[in-house]
Amino acid sequence: MTAGTTEIRPSGEPHLVETHQTGMPTVMVGMLLFIASEVMFFGGLFATYFNARASVAPEPWEPPPGGELDMALAAVLTAILISSSFTMQFGVWAIRRGDAGKLKMWTGITLALGVLFLAGQLYDYSQLGFGIADGVFGTVFYTLTGFHGAHVFGGAVGLTIILARAMQGQFSGRNHIAVEAVSIYWHFVDVVWIAVFSTIYLLR
């Protein structure tokens, strides 16, 4: 083996690669992949829910004695979150048209709805009559809704950041990738809630 005397002469002009931004922007790819991992995380939590539900048979699957699920409140929370997805999307459409003012408005409304959801969730927790340590129903209920709530909180933080950046005038019709990324994260959080709600409250 000769010592390293291979000469490498790439010909042509010095040209270094500009990362070709064809197709989906890099940040969006990253966000979608991150969301994929979060889907799997919730998948794991849902697996614990369904396994617990199957395991307690032939006992009925229900909250512990003294506890009761508040279906009405959950339905209201669902409506709040679904509306917030709509308002988020209105904001995205606005900034795609270049309308930063409407972006600020819709983002603000989305953030308010998100905070309202979290407040409602905490209120629900205080009224339920059972805790995480009250048998397997309590454990899976609080774990599933609790981690969903944590993800809503994370989304709210993201919304706050893009609201602040929007107020500094950083977004335009051409440059607003952070808004797109936060918006799909917010839609993801909404979809997970629909799954949580359907599983815990509708399917039971």
Binding site: P10, T19, G30, L33, G44, A47, T48, T139, T143
Partner: protein, 564 residues
């Protein structure tokens, strides 16, 4: 001889940074790769010492050295550290260093998140190890089965530290996976279609997808366990409606893709090394890619083969799927054999480790197919047969891959060559020691020796095999010494490597050793999966000329004119 020179731009100040700060704040994928590798080897040594503790105790019957609790901590920490803090991070480190270079990219897609992924590792590892400071490390096996890991049976802090440390390490992996996938899809050099990527990049891609999808499930399980232990949860406690088997399902749904996460990058390394030292392209590139993807997909369908004996598993399905996954693995074996066939073999140290990989992984794969069959598995589950299998695939596979990568890419990373004779000494002691340590375990398992036991009866007839195994373990430990001497001596005074000491095929050899911070001054044109081969050897081999090379670019004209 480097022809790509680094000319400091006029006006750029010469500066002297503190090297500590340099390494602490770096976001350069090359430095981060080295950090991963160094960190990985440190944990390798620590977990290796734990293995020596285990083997020393088991050499002869009787509890001579440690008590049972210490023994349990030793094998638990050995497994956890080796898998989560050595193998995956070290292979990740090589991937971090090499993948952007092989793609012709200046760095990873998200360089700062790349650094974050690294720094979570030593911190997670310290948390896991710190169990020793607080009454004892985790001692329930790296698989952490409930209810043994519940607060009722393992009340110590060590298990909690293990959980949280692993959560940090898992998060690091997931972030790394996002980074790799994005980089591979978005930052390839012009002309590098997916099917012109180096094979190593393909294996890293599939590995990253597995990490992305499997690790979060482990995170969910770890959180559930933590809630059970500390917040009165009932996930795994049957007395309040929970189910211990749930832990096994969650853990192994992650755990099985995990073992492919461990092996695929090593297979990628072997697939880089073999063509270079056989002077032939990889046989059946596309088949290999599809086999890798097939393994990735199938890996999610076999998890319950770790749970055959629970009675809670639909045996025919999982047995069938497990046997099925042997097929793409077998295809790869033939890819490698086909590459070697009629090649001009150069038995350098990386090549020896790659050949060692093929033969040792074959043995591990065969014992794996045996375990796929429930009738066999029912007899050898939780015996040393399984320990033999897992070490042949993890150690005979992945660790051999790590050393192949180390010897192959050390010149690129440091600009120095490792000493070949010393490397061969390392290889042979390592190879013989490895087989001495682990081959007897097949027989031990078949004759009934259970795993995770600190002691055994002198009448069982297991003594001599255990003794042999312990000798082998110490041989492995000794083999590390020539490696370390080689690394340190070569760093200080090794022969300069130049850009391309091995006459490689892929883009990392088209820049200096080590590369400049932004990797390439100029990129060679990419028209095949061996861009450097065509660059240095011209298009003389018409048969290998890619079909879609229609236009004659300036590059082509000049190269043909100046072809050697």
């Amino acid at each position: 001889m480097a022809t790509t020179t680094l000319e400091p731009q006029a006006g750029a100040p010469a500066y002297r940074r503190s090297w500590v700060l340099d390494w602490l704040t770096t976001v350069d994928h090359k430095k981060i790769g080295i950090l991963y590798i160094v960190n990985g080897f440190l944990f390798f040594f620590a977990a290796g010492i734990l293995a020596l503790v285990v083997r020393s105790e088991l050499a002869v019957p009787g509890l001579q050295l440690v008590d049972q609790d210490t023994f349990n901590q030793a094998f638990t920490m050995h497994g956890t550290i080796m898998l989560f803090l050595f193998i995956i991070p070290t292979l990740s480190g090589f991937a971090n260093y090499i993948v952007p270079l092989q793609l012709g990219a200046p760095d990873m897609a998200f360089p700062r998140i790349n650094a974050l992924s690294f720094w979570l590792l030593p911190l997670g590892g310290i948390l896991i190890f710190s169990g020793y400071l607080f009454g004892g490390a985790a001692a329930e096996g790296w698989t952490g089965y409930a209810p043994l890991t519940s607060d009722r049976f393992s009340p110590g802090t060590g298990t909690d530290l293990w959980i949280i440390g692993l959560a940090l390490v898992g998060t690091a992996s997931i972030l790394g996976a996002v980074n790799f996938i994005t980089t591979i899809f978005k930052m390839r050099a012009p002309g590098m279609t997916l099917f012109r990527m180096p094979i190593f990049v393909w294996t890293v891609l599939v590995t990253a997808v597995l990490i992305l999808l499997a690790t979060p499930v482990l995170t969910a399980g770890l959180i559930a366990l933590f809630i059970d232990r500390n917040y009165g949860g009932s996930f795994f406690d049957p007395s309040v409606g929970g189910n211990p088997i749930l832990w096994q399902h969650i853990f192994w749904f992650f755990g099985h893709p995990e073992v492919y996460i461990v092996i695929l990058p090593a297979m990628g390394v072997v697939s880089e090394v073999l063509p270079v030292f056989s002077r032939k392209p990889l046989f059946g590139y596309k088949a290999f890619v599809f086999a890798t993807i097939g393994i990735g997909l199938l890996s999610f369908s076999v998890w319950a083969h770790h749970m055959f004996t629970t009675g809670a598993v639909f045996l025919p399905f999982f047995s069938f799927m497990t046997a099925l996954i042997a097929i793409p693995t077998g295809i790869k074996m033939f890819n490698w054999l086909g590459t070697l066939y009629r090649g001009k073999l150069m038995l350098t140290t990386p090549m020896l480790f790659a050949l060692g990989f093929i033969s040792m992984f074959l043995i591990g794969g065969i014992s794996g197919v045996m375990l796929a069959s429930p009738p066999i598995d029912f007899h050898v589950q939780d015996t040393y047969f399984v320990v033999a299998h897992l070490h042949y695939v993890f150690f005979g596979g992945s660790v051999f891959g790590v050393f192949a990568a180390a010897y192959y890419w050390f010149p690129k990373m440091t600009g120095r060559r490792l000493n070949e004779p010393l490397g061969k000494v390392h290889f042979w002691i390592h190879f013989i020691g490895f087989n001495l340590a682990f081959f007897p375990m097949h027989q031990l398992g078949l004759s009934g020796m259970p795993r995770r036991v600190a002691d055994y009866s002198p009448d069982a007839g297991w003594t001599y095999l255990n003794l042999a195994s312990t000798v082998g373990a110490f041989m492995i430990a000794v083999s590390v010494i020539p490696f370390l001497i080689n690394v340190v001596a070569s760093l200080i005074n090794g022969e300069p490597a130049g850009d391309d000491p091995w006459e490689g095929n892929t883009l990392e050899w088209a820049t200096t050793s080590p590369p400049p911070p932004y990797n390439f001054d100029r990129l060679p044109p990419v028209h095949s999966e061996r861009p450097l081969f065509f660059l240095t050897h011209g298009h003389g081999h018409v048969a290998e000329r890619p079909d879609d090379l229609e236009e004659h670019s300036e590059d082509d004209v000049e190269r043909r004119g100046g072809a050697a």
